[in-house]
């Protein structure tokens, strides 16, 4: 905490007994890796940055396209054609000049994931494909870091936080699934809800509020009926990645 300005900036959340001055300092010392700057990543990074998470390391390989703008709220019409990392860094730095925004314009893969995540306390899934999620899940297991997963499709979304040793991993659930043949239709507000819930999970991880995490639970949102349902998850001894450990 630097000064009175910080006290004012964060006073509404520092009033929470779970945060307070110590918690705010803890957030300021934290570093989070966010993979992907699409619909989910836009919301996740915005809320983490606004909450005072000290350092965000972000990776995305894409440039902004006009078809992104219905849901990727960090990117605006003037950004079409720019790297998403450049667009995001500009907005996030304007939102909170004290945040360290480290961007990597690249594709996340098994060859670079460990280096990208090094020094971070949480891995967040803002990706749009199974392949990258599998890489991030492997990295979460290897580096013993929580992996906050989110996914969206049309009116629906799902969220879970995979904590190595405490919960199943992403592959426990989805190792037999194949990649969809085409990108799903997506409503921007669904990305907003799911990304917000992911950012809340990240903040809880950083504050050490581990008991209330979506750990061992998969939350499903059906936006059309506004129904939220929770599915209990057990470890999968047949998992090719964690073997149910």
């Amino acid at each position: 905490m630097q000064d009175q300005r910080d006290q004012l900036r964060y006073q509404r959340q520092m009033g929470l007994p779970e945060i307070g001055e110590q918690g705010q300092k803890r957030l300021a010392r934290s570093r989070v890796f966010v993979g992907g700057l699409g619909g989910l990543g836009s919301v996740i990074t915005t809320y983490l940055c606004a909450a005072g998470v000290g350092s965000l390391r972000i990776a995305d390989r894409d440039r902004v396209e006009i078809s992104n703008l219905n849901r990727q709220i960090l990117h605006w019409t003037k950004d079409v054609g720019r790297d998403k990392t450049v667009s995001a860094r500009e907005k996030l730095a304007a939102l909170n000049p004290d945040a360290e925004i480290e961007t990597h314009h690249l594709e996340i893969g098994p060859e670079n994931a460990a280096e990208l995540v090094q020094g971070c306390q949480v891995i967040v899934d803002g990706t749009d494909n199974l392949q990258t999620r599998r890489v991030l899940n492997r990295t979460s297991l290897d580096m013993d870091l929580p992996f906050v997963h989110g996914g969206i499709n049309g009116f629906n979304g799902m969220i879970s936080t995979f904590v190595p040793g405490r919960s199943p991993c992403f592959e426990c659930l989805f190792s037999e699934f194949g990649s969809p043949s085409s990108p799903p239709p997506v409503l921007g507000s669904v990305a907003g809800v799911v990304g917000s819930l992911q950012s809340l999970e990240v903040i809880k991880c950083l504050l050490g509020l581990m008991d209330g995490l979506l750990c061992g639970r998969l939350l499903f949102m059906q936006g059309q009926t506004m129904a939220f349902r929770e599915i209990s998850l057990e470890k999968n001894p047949d998992c090719p990645e964690c073997r149910g450990r």
Partner: protein
Amino acid sequence: MWISMEQYEESGMKNTVTITLNGFQEEVAQGSTVSSLIKYFQELDKDLIVEHNGRFVYPGEYPRTVVDDGDRLEFINPNFGG
């Protein structure tokens, strides 16, 4: 071994259970497993999440997960967009 409702009816057997599948009540043959119900209800998408009474069912458990009267079953398409 699972047999269809039609086969049950033809054989004169009356043993059925009522489950809630994707929010709708369905009468299915007693002893039906998740595997047999996926075939019976023609769930063609192989990438399917199955929830049985609030619990995630792994594909390896489908053949041995038997539904009982009053059970809730959900076939869910996963959401992998971002």
